[in-house]
Symmetry: C2
Subunit: 450 residues, 2 copies
């Protein structure tokens, strides 16, 4: 750019302030690398259970997304009119599009059908710490089966997913919507059940007292009803899940609760014997799950060392969701990893080893005449499986070593021209050792042995 360009008001008027929208964020390389490694591992876990990926568009007809997900989410939708005058919206989750997809492609897909989907969703909610208006969800679902075997498999995928991300201390808390509804019914509170469950759903954030106030003042529950409801928090009291579930007393108060408890017994019979699930699956009769569409067993996952971050993987059975698109109710059960929240958690727990580059070795060189040699050497190193960056241009060695340090390179190759031939050396950035080398094979050997 010339001085006259800098002074030209025409140029300066063109400058647009570089900024992201409120509630949206960029990811820097170290974060994006960590996230991308997590996504690969999750995809591997999903595949290991036979879940195939699918894709649906980010943009849908508004009416497709309109009917589900609760009023709050409806308000948060990015909705607009497109070029063709269509009423459209950005998806706010991956589950409603799945319901649309399954009905639309039912014959080609066949049922039952297991899928995973990794994608971004959009909610115009007021941004909170670590929560954005665009975020990544990783969903896995079994569509087309009423069997508790399917519910039990989702729990296994949840456990395996977190374990493969290197997270050891977590709890998958399991409950049954029909148990909660049956229990409310037994207290004479059937019609108020949805409102009561919405309040109960806040139990991770609100004190027992504050919940009681909401139930009494908001919903008109008596103290006795509240006391009976709050028994759910204490009734298990350290008893082992299976022993508790098989105890015939107390909670089998009507057909609904009995059926729900039998479902839970069947689920625990499948998952309890498995090493991946034994220590992490816990019955918790107070779990609700926020979204309106769950109809059966529900799950939430808490990180033991970081409960404040909330559930990092949740889900449940939703047997009615396809009813929006079809007169037939296709049963489904699934869960979702909130990847951005989990990434933030992993950072807090020190589980991420963040570097701004995926490469292991940097090739540096002093003059443009060394460019062919530097690129040829990198080419050879890549053939041995190494991840190799070539510094983009000739520069002073000091500048290139500063770059190497900033990117946390452990190894740097230095290509130098000397008289008629060139010289290679390998520098270990940790120890500072530098030694002459002859070729890619020697470099690979030295990197392996250090």
């Amino acid at each position: 750019m010339t001085a006259s360009d800098l002074l030209s008001s025409d140029t300066s008027s063109r400058i647009v302030t570089p900024r992201t929208l409120k509630g949206f964020t960029d990811r820097m390389p170290e974060e994006a690398l960590a996230k991308s490694a997590m996504l690969s591992r999750l995809a591997q876990v999903f595949c290991s259970f036979g879940y195939a990926p699918i894709e649906t568009p980010h943009l849908e007809y508004f009416e497709t997304l309109n009917k589900e997900g609760g009023q709050e989410i409806q308000h948060q939708m990015y909705r607009f009119t497109d070029h063709g005058d269509r009423d459209v919206a950005l998806r706010f989750d991956l589950t409603v599009p799945l319901a649309r997809y399954v009905v639309q492609h039912r014959n080609a897909l066949g049922l039952p059908f297991k899928r995973y989907c990794i994608g971004n969703v959009f909610r115009g909610e007021n941004p909170q710490a670590g929560r954005y208006r665009e975020f990544t969800q990783c969903d896995f679902d079994i569509v087309g089966s009423h069997s508790i075997g399917a519910d039990a498999e989702i729990v296994q995928v949840m456990a395996s997913a977190l374990q493969h991300l290197g997270i050891a201390d977590f709890e998958i808390r399991i409950n049954h919507r029909q148990f909660l509804e049956g229990y409310c019914k037994s207290l004479g509170l059937s019609s108020k059940a949805p409102a009561i469950l919405r309040i109960l759903d806040k139990s991770d954030k609100e004190s027992r007292e504050s919940l009681a106030t909401m139930l009494r003042e908001g919903e008109g529950l008596t103290s006795a009803q509240i006391e009976d409801l709050f028994k759910l928090f204490t009734i298990k009291e350290g008893r082992e899940d299976m022993a508790f579930l098989q105890d015939p007393a107390a909670l089998r108060v009507n057909d609904e609760t009995a059926k729900a408890l039998d479902d839970l017994i069947q689920l625990f019979r499948i998952v309890q014997p498995l090493a991946s699930c034994r220590a992490v699956c816990k019955l918790d009769l107070t779990i609700v799950r926020g979204l309106g569409y769950y109809t059966g067993i529900v799950y939430e996952t808490t990180l033991t060392a970081l409960p404040s971050i909330g559930s990092v993987c949740s889900g449940g059975r939703y047997d009615n969701l396809t009813q929006v698109f079809s007169r037939e109710a296709i049963p489904a059960v699934g869960a979702s990893v909130g990847l951005d929240r989990l990434l933030a958690a992993c950072r807090q727990l020190g589980l991420l080893h963040e570097r701004p580059t995926p490469a292991e070795i940097l090739v540096t060189f002093g003059t443009d005449s060394s460019l062919p040699q530097a690129h040829a050497l990198a080419h050879e190193l890549r053939l041995t499986g190494k991840l190799v960056e070539v510094y983009p241009e000739s520069a002073k060695l000091k500048k290139q070593l500063t770059y190497a340090n900033r990117k946390a390179y452990k190894f740097v190759v230095i290509v130098q021209e000397e008289a008629t031939q060139s010289k290679l050396s390998l520098k270990n950035m940790t120890t500072g050792d530098q030694q002459d080398v002859h070729d890619a094979a020697e470099i690979t050997h030295l990197m392996g042995s250090s």
Copy 2:
């Protein structure tokens, strides 16, 4: 659902027709699996060159996207007003957001900086065969270097990316924008250069005659000027690139063309010796690249066996793009794989082995009482690294084997309850052989040896 539900007009009025928006599409599992495998391989290649991933939002301020990309794309933008009355749009490529990102985070990033970005972009163009309004781009760029070393590296990444996708027959055609502009200048056509290049850019689709008509009637070129321009199509005539470039005559008509040819010589000196590039990189003096923002070397990639599909990986140098966001011009060079187009091409070329499930083995069982055993067996098989699906529910064996065939499973385990104990057998779906087995280890062994 009960009969009364089916008859209720209230229920039927709620049915939403399941459909995607015009120009948008879902991906079925077999396609999405193939695409996801391609994306993993591409990410591996980008990492092998030291490119780190970054993320930018799908949604940006309209003004961020407004200044670049040509008028046509501006019309095709999904633009709307959000809840906060902001003028926003869905991104139409990954390059303009990169320019915004680099200026915004310049200090944290440091320059030079190599990044890749895999993401979806949106263009409301009229859908053509195999082209959608939402599609996936895989971009890789070097920001902050003027060196031809950077241009030469992008060519290597392009070649390596296609080779790692199993594509052997392709050509990377390379040219220089400044050569084209200098050559136009030498013909006295400087002011018309942009319009002329736009016409030249259609040479893959339009006949030479039709181009001549456009140049004569649209831009008022004389027959002599058109003849001189068309020399670019024939002047190389089978000569080897380096030999041709070093020939001092003919094309070194002014400083611009001479400088451009020197750049190209430097690039070919770097890439020609490399096994990955030698056979695929070709000088082509007629390549333009559509988008307005290129300023130097440009590339296009054609599949030899499927030229009609157009360029599957294109790019070039764009040294002025950040000027929209900053008074400083930060140089950059990069390219982009059009993944959806490439996926369609790979299918046509028979390079995809599509299956609707990633799993290798299906565990079937007859009754709910076998659920714990079926899941325990699958759990053990996964520990040996196998990808294992458990059929979601108890069902007739025939139904489960139909499912296995539809999903192209080669192996099925059958769990059967017999009197007091259960029996396992392994069925090879290809040969029809079935044999009794005792445990996961035996299954793994037999799968490996078949």
